[in-house]
Every structure is written in C-alpha cells, then in structure tokens.
Amino acid sequence: MAYYAEKNFFEDQQLIELVTNILSGNLTLEWYTAEGGRVRARPSDLRRGLTYEDCNLGPYGYDAIPEFVRNRYSMAARGSVLVSKLPDLGYTINRRSDVWSDNVVALYEEAKARRWAPAVDVPWAELTAGDSVREAAMAQLCTFLEEVALVAMEMPSKWVFSINQEFLELKSFLCAQMIDEARHVEAWRKRALTSGHGLGRASVSAEQALKELLSAETYPEASLGTNLLLGSFVLAMCRAIAALAETRADRLLATLAMQDVARSVAYGVGHMRYHLAHQPGKAVALAEYLDRTEHVVLGIAGSPEFLEPVVILAAGSVDRDRLAAGSRFARRWYTSAVEEYFERAAAVGLPRRERSRLPRLDV
C-alpha cells in the first residue's frame, strides 16, 4: 500500500477526548470564523440557471487563478480558507496556460445541457439489418469509430489525475469529454451490432496512430493532437456519416455525435489560442510536434477500415461505376477535412499549409 495515515487513530487518546468533548456539546467552532470572502452568486439569466460564469466572483472565480499555482497542491476548494498541514496530492500540471481555454467554462455548461443517451435517443427500431454491402460497410465504419472513441475517452482520463484541482472548471470539462466519448463507444458499437453483420476488423494503421497520439508527452501536445488534429478529422467523419445516412436513426446518431466532437474541437482551438498567447515560445515546439505526429491522421483517415466503407456508403454498392462516384465523395471528404484542419491550426497560430506532409489531392 502506498500511503498510510500518520498514526493509528484508534490509539489516539487526544482524538477520543476531542470527539467525546464535542459530542458532549462542547463545540470548538474553530471553523466558524473562517471566511473565504462573503459573496452571493446569482443567476444572471434565469433561463440558463446558475452557471459557473455566475460564480466567477472575486477570490472564488476562475479569473483569479494565477498563471503559476505554486502553493496549492491539495483538493481544497478554490477560495476556501487553507489550513496548515494540507498534503501534497502530487499534481504535476500546475500552470494555467498549459490547460486553460477562454471557452472552457461555457463548453462545460454546453456539454451538460446538450447531453443525450444513445439507448433511448436514437430510434433503433427504424434500423433494419440486412445482407447488403451497405450495412456491412456501416458495421465496419462503426467498428472503426468505436476504436477511435475508446482512445478519445482515455485521453482526458489519463491527464485529469495530474491536473491541479484549482483548474476545476477545466477538469470538469475533461469529465464531460469522457462521458461524451463513452457515449460514442456505446453508440457506434450498438449501431454495428444492429447491422446483422457483427463487428468488422480492427485497424492496425489507425491503432498505431492512435497509440502515438495517446502517448503524447505533455498535456498541450496531447490536447493539440487529440482535440484539434484528430478531432478535426473525427468531426468530418461524423458529418460524412450524417450526410450519407439513409435513415433518420443514422442521421441523428451521427449528428448528435458530431455535436459532442465539435465541443472538443472548440476546446482544442481555444486551448491552443490561450496556450500560445501566454507561452508564445512554445509555438516552435508544437509545430515540430505536428511535423512528426500529423502523419497519424493519414494512418487513421487513410486506413482501409475507414476509407473503403466510406467509399461504399457513398457509392451505395460495389459496382465499378458506383465506386467511382463513391471515391469522388471520399476524395472531396478528405480534402475538406484537411482544409478545415489547416484553417483551425492557422487560427491558433500554427500555420500548416506549407509545412504539412499530409497528401493533397486534386479534386
């Protein structure tokens, strides 16, 4: 066992006397005069309820978090009165601009408000299983997306433990990302297993790529790689599935998933903007990170386990003429996904158009 109490409390006479005394009605009231600052948070807009923005007050607010959190390593609530002997819980991410984004508070509130439940919010009964190659393609595509969602769920979980509790709203957003991605693991798996084809094949290239993304060394790299880079492509994938859907159930599933992924992308963009505004020197290192890691989206979006089903879904069959039409869709899809990623990267101060080794296609 890693950590023990400083004493055996069962043999601590001082403790027993203290508790006995209190339970005899002699309260210490040591805490009674402790005040972090008297405030009264109120909803600024009753339709919206009491948001974290409404609680951004004085020493309690997120605006008051310093760039370097040097003296708080416990889980004591931000703004509460600290006492001596608070333990160090081992946080290793203590710099605000390593994690923060100006939109993260609103995105957290949005995530809760726009929650959905795959079991009941997708009209599963409208889907009919079939032997068609289209359904087989859908099963393969959903197998692939389940694989991606498993990784996207793990990325925030891997870091949240190490992030200082002062960044409460940001950590809460990471929790929202976790549940969003759990929802996607669930939804894509359920869709695959309603197809009549079972699950398809795991993707070697996508998993190699995903493992590289997941093992990013720093949180800014992990966020850039997963939220902005991977997120851009997964968002485009959801858009494509919604656009190619033949049933309301598939359109809804892909649209609802798209909304969730778009929040992660928005955080990724906001985070990089904030990070580079406060640590402009990091632009060089992050551009180099993208130089060496950007190739992973080719391993993902270019994997046959993703791309071939997309071509088939767009074609509707495996007839040669139809496949030509399907491949045109896929080319345009890839081109616009790369383009939107470049736009987002440029917007945060990481221009990629000239530097990127990702293939460009003539459409």
């Binding site: 919206r48 939109n103 858009r239 859907a245 649209t255 609802l256 909304q259 992924v261 778009a262």
Partner: protein, 169 residues
Amino acid sequence: MPAVSAPPPLRFPSRDFFEALREAMRAERERFSRLGFFDTTFGVRISSDDGGEPAEFALRFEVFDCVGVESLAGVETDFVVEGPFAAWREMLDTIHALGAADTAHSLNTLTHFGEQLRVRYDDPDGHDKLYRFAESIQEFFDLSARLDFAYPDGSRPPAARAERQRSAR
C-alpha cells in the same frame, strides 16, 4: 356579419417567415430545452434566381430560444448559410411534405461540400458552432413544416404527405 378572410400566407424569404419560426420554436420550448443550450448568431442568405439582391437575415439564438430575427447587414455572425433560392426551396418543400428534412435534405447534407448551400465564415470557431448546435439548427428549420407560406411566385410548398417517410430509401 362580415366574412373573416384567412390571413395571407407568409412569404419565403421574408423576415416574417423567420419570425414565425421563432414563434414556433417558443411553443416547442421543452423539445429545444432537451437539446440543450443553443448560443449562436448566424446568417441566412437566399440568392435571387433573377440576379437581384439576395434576401439576408441574421438569426440570434440564446439559451433555448430564438431571440432575434434581423437584417444581416452589420450583424456579427458566427457563420452564414447561403445558397440559391432553388436550393432553399427544395429543402423547405421536403420539410413541408415530410414534416422534417429527410436525410438528403438535412442542413448538414446540403452544406457538406457546398454544392447546394455554402457556409461562409471568418473564424473556424464560429464555423464550428454549426456543428456544435447541428441538431437544434436542423429542428429549427424543421418547424417550417407547420407554417403556411408561399414563394415569391405565389406557389406553395407541397402539402404534408399522409404518411411521412423521412428516410431517403
């Protein structure tokens, strides 16, 4: 007793048309609350078939409501959805006939490659709100199925089909 004539149909495109959608959204508060916060201002631009001035409106959404319909000029928007009148008409005709857009006429499909409708934006952050609020935006336009409206040439969208089938199959 004087005869009471039915009010004239709304016109599309017009500010009144979007105001009516706004009212319909208000009546569906619970449905939109379930979809979640909806905070964006976006524009719609309907180009005229005859090369005339496009009809342009800004739609402002806050929390669960549409809080403003105004002229697009001078309004800062997250994105603008634009396209020829014929594309908008095709979308609205489908919605009116089926009760909601089918998969071939959802806003996402129509804007996907910018063939029928295009999305214009200055900042990718604003653009991404089209995706973040995709289902709310779709359901907002789907409310047009309930409106009595006519196009500039006086023609009407098709009547609702008895059995509404929204899949493209």
